[in-house]
């Protein structure tokens, strides 16, 4: 039995501890907001938080989650009104949208650590997450916007 807290709810499940967290989320909890892009840690579409740190869930076995807290895009805010989600809407970041859960979870972890990140800090954090649609310029703008509460209202 593996115990974890998922989006604030305690959960326990008996699964092969080698199962990647990505598939635990998608197959067992029906949380499909976290995406499969490569399954080998190369694209970042699957980023979730583990105790507040961004991790690639495709490369995180269930065993590594024992006793820890996992947060997914579905748990980022109750109503889709996390400052980054608001900024993402105002900047119209998503195109196809497939990479965006990973982008937002990565950016939200960055903001939690650096409330006003520099461009270099944004580069360092965000370069792990690929976007085939090329929404990078808008992601940068949205992060700056979310980090500047006075302009959040847009």
């Amino acid at each position: 039995m593996i115990h974890l807290t998922l989006n604030g709810e305690p959960q326990a499940l008996a699964l092969d501890p080698a199962t990647p967290l990505l598939w635990v989320l998608r197959d067992h909890f029906g949380l499909t907001g976290t995406k499969y892009g490569c399954g080998e840690g190369a694209c970042g579409a699957c980023v979730v938080w583990l105790d507040g740190e961004p991790v690639k869930s495709c490369s995180t076995p269930l065993s590594a989650v024992e006793g820890r807290s996992v947060q997914t895009i579905e748990g980022l805010s109750p109503d889709g009104r996390h400052p980054l989600q608001l900024a993402w809407v105002l900047e119209e970041v998503p195109q196809c949208g497939y990479c965006q859960s990973g982008q937002i979870m990565t950016a939200a972890a960055l903001l939690a650590r650096h409330p006003r990140p520099s461009d270099e800090q944004i580069d360092a954090a965000m370069s792990e997450v690929l976007c085939r649609c090329g929404s990078y310029g808008r992601i940068r703008r949205a992060i700056h916007r979310a980090a500047t509460p006075e302009v959040q209202g847009g």
Binding site: K35, G97, C131, C133
Partner: protein, 713 residues
Amino acid sequence: MADSGSMKGLTRRDLLKIVTLSGGGLALGWVWPARAETNEPAAPRSPDPFEPNAWINIHADGRIQVRLARAEMGQGVMTSLAMLLAEELEVGLDQLQIEPAPVAPAYVNYLLGEQATGGGTSTRDAWNTLREAGALARTLMIAAAAQTWGVPESECRARRAQVHHADGTRRLTYGELAATATRLPAPSSVELKAKPDWTLIGTSPRRLDTPLKVRGAAHFGLDVRLPGMLYATIARCPVIGAQISGWNGQAAHAVPGVIDVFAVRYGIAVVAETSWAALTGHARLEVECRPRVNTAVTTERLHSRLRIGLNGRAPVALKEGDVSRALARAALEIESVYEVPFQAHACMEPMNCTADVRPDGCDIHVPTQSPAATRETARHLTGLSAERIRVHTTFLGGGHGRRREQDFVQDAVELSQRLGRPVQVIWTRADDLQHDYYRPMTLHRLRGGLDAAGEPVAWFHRVVGPSVLARRDPGRLRDGIDSLMTDGAVSLPYRLPHRRLEYRRADTPVPIGLWRGDGHSHNAFATECFLDELARAGGRDPLELRRQLLAESPAHLALLDRLAEYWAAPVPEGQGRGLALVEAMGSRLALLAEVSVEDGKIRARRFVAVLDGGQVVNPDAVRAQIESGIVFGLTATLKGAITFSDGQVEQADFGDYPLLRFDEMPEVESILIDSDAPPGGVSSIATPAVAPAVANALLALLGRPFRTLPIRL
């Protein structure tokens, strides 16, 4: 094309149909002649045989449903197409319920000849159709209100799904008017709003799909969950065109959750209760390929095969003047060969499809650009009549032309039929990269002649490469010319008195298909780079030379004029600046690139794009497409390529097929030229311009041409 603000006959008047919905609502749409359906067996009559063709359903309870007949793959059609309809219907975007259209004749994309999305056609195709649909419904609502109140229609105005009377007190909602409206005669003409009266077109309302996409709530193909659904992967022979000859499924079978392992038409299927079990089984499968074909295919060999085509005779796609004579008389002749490699689509969402085939019908949930072809695929495989097959288009995690294909649909339909349960087929990233329909490899030989003043007088271009149409649409091949391969090279906008374009078909065993920008993506590289080489040879400024060759084309000159100040500004130290011009899909784009070389690495620093895309429906969506097209083009310009050894694709992951990353994103400035012309396509126009703009910037910076993609120093 429709003129705004004029009474006019309907583009598809005789086909207009208005019917009553159960509950007293109104459905409005078009019925097509039987042409598309003639070879299909007669269907059992459904209660409302027209309804699947409706574009707008106005229900008595006030709900307004509109059908989205194009795939939302990031380009923003969900919003832009809804805007066209809402503008004329006089409703707010927030008042519409948008749902994906089924496959039906009403939804054919006339620019593609089928119900499909791609090639920058969606807005162009919908420009009249959807506005007219909205205007018709609005006209009916106004007529119904006028009749109800016993007043002239001229005293009634529609606004936010209500009709208001000029007295300022009376009003009726569309829902209340729907039943009356269905009893009115169908209007024979319709008045589209005049441009100054537009409230939506030309604005950038919030995209309708964004709120879902920031919450992880948009459902893509891989997010489909059906009761009793199984998951499957399929191992294909890594050698192109070859079949698996032997396999051992024991280890795969032993994976907990794996239900079965068996051979299917295109490989070995692992069927499981979960995605993860299906993927693990896929990895554990031992397959053996003893291919008898294509084992010797290498990039070098393919390249040599194409090289042969650079010489000898070839079909002529365009001939103006006498190039040979003009070249012989030229003061200076130069010749260059350009090389463009195979490229994958690498959609962020790997290929997938979910099928539920039952004895009496079939549902297919799929991120597809071609729902009609999907239905055809299922019809062939199952023998079910078309009416019994329903295609549900999900959000697409990228398309780029890849999702016009049917291979993933075949996988899912075959498996579901065999297992009698819903099955979701998941391609791994490696499957996706190694079994794509690639952008074709091409070679280009260009010869140009300059007169004594350095002005180009002769232009010869030969395109050598495999034919995309030969597989996709052979009926469109004309005299050996594949128009998808010569796109952009034929319609070169420059005034060149002597010009000749040839296409030498050189097929290879590599599967090829549509790719963002299609022929423009390779031809623009050759033609725009060669023009800069000619400019250099003649001692001319690249922008000035283009201006001169476009002197009779004010629309193109306008683009260059907008770029002139950027071009004239001092080039930052250590950087090069280059230019490219592309005309495609009814739009034109001039792109300026600024690049530098740092630590032996090319870095694109800034792009300035000037677009004349006709009437801009949604400026922010157009800007997003320019940004997106630039990133897509830059990946193909600077990053990897698809290569072959021993008949196999050598790239299997984002390590060996890298995409442009966040910290490599250039600054992008987009300038949209205001125009009253009908909208052009914008989703693919920026991509082809990137490689030549970057190569030309490097030519300026380093003084030597870059004629091979991806660009290596």
